[in-house]
Point group: C2
Chain length 443, copies 2
């Protein structure tokens, strides 16, 4: 009887829990699920004798060690900052670890020790990072096996709304950490294009998008992620002339978000004076020069960013309520915190809303002297508010990888990222059974 | 015989040293001057028996303590980061301290201990901070004594070139730390205008200037400093509706600098890939989107910032050499470091160049029901490359304050900023003897 410890059972863990429950009787798993709050799991889990839930406090060292000590493999869906703590515990007690988060330096350092103990710390095995790696590596190896030389690889992912629930002018609602969405792109985006390193400063980022079409799902805009360069080496594309990773939004979003960035509303580096007594209208006013005294606030915002007041961008900005005399209601808020508080209300999921994950890979390569293009796209729709596309695409790769690990089908030890056939082949194959299928098109 | 220890004898200390030498015989001072390099002082100082120079290493604790121990007052012109070290030594051995730097938290903490020991740590007593405080406070107290209610105070300072040496299209050369000039304004400028807090994000800063005229010296543009709000309380202007502090440049500079900011050339937060093998032209290219493939680099830069290629801004940018195939010649450079390296060559003082300090205070106040305006301006010209306006305006207030301190004419103890009549009256009075005079104009 193999023992799985799942730490963290929030919204994006629902599908993973279902997967583990469904497989437990088949594979003889004993599952323990710990979270700060586990009451919401009660109804779902009553059916199964192979499951235990418990209130878990990651900061409680004794409990952490005891629970990790009982497990064969630990799946952590805790906030990423706790993963080094969990990894330390796994290393000490000789347990495998599976997460959907990027490898932080404190975990990278454990590689050799983990390897020496025959442990697998499988990281970046959710959606992004996760399915992006799996699907990209399958195509890269496929092209290379044919003798192709990849000259360009662009890859974009977005967590959006399914068309039936896409009913606000931004075509966006929060299905992920709102703070991360508000702060997205801060820093400088780095990529390489035709052999030239390219840098996009944050103030320009949302004005430098690329457009894409996905059959049956319409148009998307992609903006560059912060670091596309560091993926060249792990992907085996050290000398690729063009490589760009990015994030997808529906058309209109980036252009309007650019206005918020330019105004200064996404700044998280200082607190506003008297934010507790300020309205959103006054907040916007505080970013404007005291010119055009006769003009409306909307007209002055438009002038300050070089747009027409009746532009689509201004319509979207106005829709957020930023021009309204509504109190921010938050003491010592940064501009970004004030904006987040407003958007959390406006971009809230309604009952019945369904989300949508879109992933897009574009390759250009040379084969036998000819230039070719290959596009691979994935669209996953949520079933409902619980079985969201996000929960499916993050949870299923974690679940499948855990199964492979317990079945002894993964030979790699140490800190591992899923870039190799023994991971991407079985995981992508099983994901297809859940409707997570890429569509490829050669041009 | 009073003993003065001067630590730091770089370019801006020349006039201070002259002042101390001239006063030493009159007041019976013994002067010790320590710097990492003191050879350049040899010829100047041979004339005087009351002066000793020595090679000084601030990190050498034994030497630091020994030298401080011998002094009655320490003047530090070392880089500001060393001031807490020096202040600790002064506190331990019961010595007064005078500097031209802002009060850092580690010195602010020493206030009560210094006070208990009857010591004066006089900070911010150079030009900016320094003469700005002295002259502003004299006017504020003057207006308030008449019964005036100040409604607006704007204050700008600039270190520029004298008209006869103003011979490049930016109307600027480095007379101060180049790195600080390149990074100027990063963060968010905060001020208050008509009772409304105002924030200017860095990417907009150099596009939001105000114009000024100084009789006989033409036009200037001012951009806002990072923090104008924290001066309200020390100036006794807690409830002032408008307060802004800023920096002066000649017209054209800010508009062209805004192009460099928008491109991303002032970013100091990451290092460029392969900067050691990159030219300035390639650096500019790396910030541009791969659009308009037929257009020239200048045309594409212009398009990316929304200007005409033949605009004045682009002319200034081109003049710097940024469009030239000239190697950066610096490994692991940030964009800001690469830009600084270029500008250090272009904005270099030529033999005989004279600098110019301009300071401008604008007050609006109500007196007996009438609205009034008062402008006070200061222009100081350098005599030559050694006796620069910068060295005069930084060094003389330090020297005069040191004299007052040694004469027992300063009663304030603890950490002191020169905001009070017992400092501003004698210092401003003596500065006039050196041609440092403000011109006031009532409107």
């Amino acid at each position: 009887m193999k023992k799985i410890l799942l730490l963290g059972a929030g919204r994006s863990a629902t599908v993973l829990i279902d997967y583990l429950l469904a497989n437990a009787p088949v594979y003889g798993w004993q599952i323990s699920i710990g979270d700060v709050a586990v009451d919401h799991l009660a109804s779902k889990l009553r059916q199964s004798a192979q499951v235990r839930t418990f209130t878990f406090d990651v900061q409680n060292e004794a409990q952490r060690n005891e629970e990790i000590g009982r497990a064969d493999v630990v799946i952590s869906m805790l906030p990423a900052l706790f993963h080094p703590l969990v990894a330390q515990g796994c290393l000490r007690q000789g347990k495998h670890l599976v997460t959907a988060s990027y490898v932080p330096p404190h975990i990278r350092e454990l590689h050799e020790e983990a390897q020496a103990k025959g442990l697998t710390f499988l990281m970046e095995c959710g959606l992004d990072p996760g399915i992006d790696h799996l699907s990209a590596m399958r195509l890269i190896h496929q092209i290379q096996r044919q003798g192709g030389n990849i000259t360009s690889f662009k890859s974009f992912t977005g967590g959006l709304m399914a068309p039936e629930s896409d009913n606000n002018p931004w075509h966006y609602k929060f299905t992920w950490n709102p703070r991360n969405v508000v702060l997205a792109g801060q820093g400088t985006a780095k990529y390489i294009e035709n052999g030239t390193y390219k840098y996009i400063p944050y103030p320009q980022l949302f004005g430098r998008t690329e457009s894409f079409q996905v059959d049956g799902f319409g148009d998307f805009d992609g903006y560059a992620n912060r670091d596309s360069l560091s993926y060249r080496e792990p992907y085996g594309l050290q000398h690729i002339p063009t490589m760009l990773r990015g994030t997808l939004r529906r058309p209109g979003y980036c252009q309007a978000w650019q206005v918020l960035v330019q105004l200064g509303l996404t700044d998280d580096s200082y607190t506003l004076e008297d934010s507790g007594r300020m309205t959103y209208r006054a907040l916007v006013e505080s970013f404007l020069p005291a010119t055009h005294p006769g003009a409306s606030l909307k007209e002055r915002v438009a002038a300050s960013v070089g747009l027409a007041p009746e532009s689509e961008e201004l319509r979207l900005v106005e829709w957020t309520g930023l021009f309204d005399e509504v109190p921010i209601g938050l003491e010592n808020a940064t501009p970004a915190q004030a904006l987040e508080r407003l958007l959390v209300q406006k971009w809230k999921l309604s009952p019945g809303d369904k989300d949508m994950i879109v992933m897009l890979h574009q390759f250009e390569y040379e084969l036998n002297g000819a230039r070719r293009k290959l596009t691979s796209s994935l669209v996953v729709l949520g079933d409902d508010e619980v079985h969201t596309a996000m929960a499916k695409t993050v949870g299923l790769p974690l679940g499948i990888a855990t199964k492979l690990l317990l079945e002894g089908k993964l030979s790699a030890t140490g800190v591992v990222v899923p870039l190799h056939p023994d991971l991407y082949e079985p995981i992508l194959e099983e994901l297809e059974q859940f409707g997570i299928c890429f569509t490829e098109r050669e041009q």
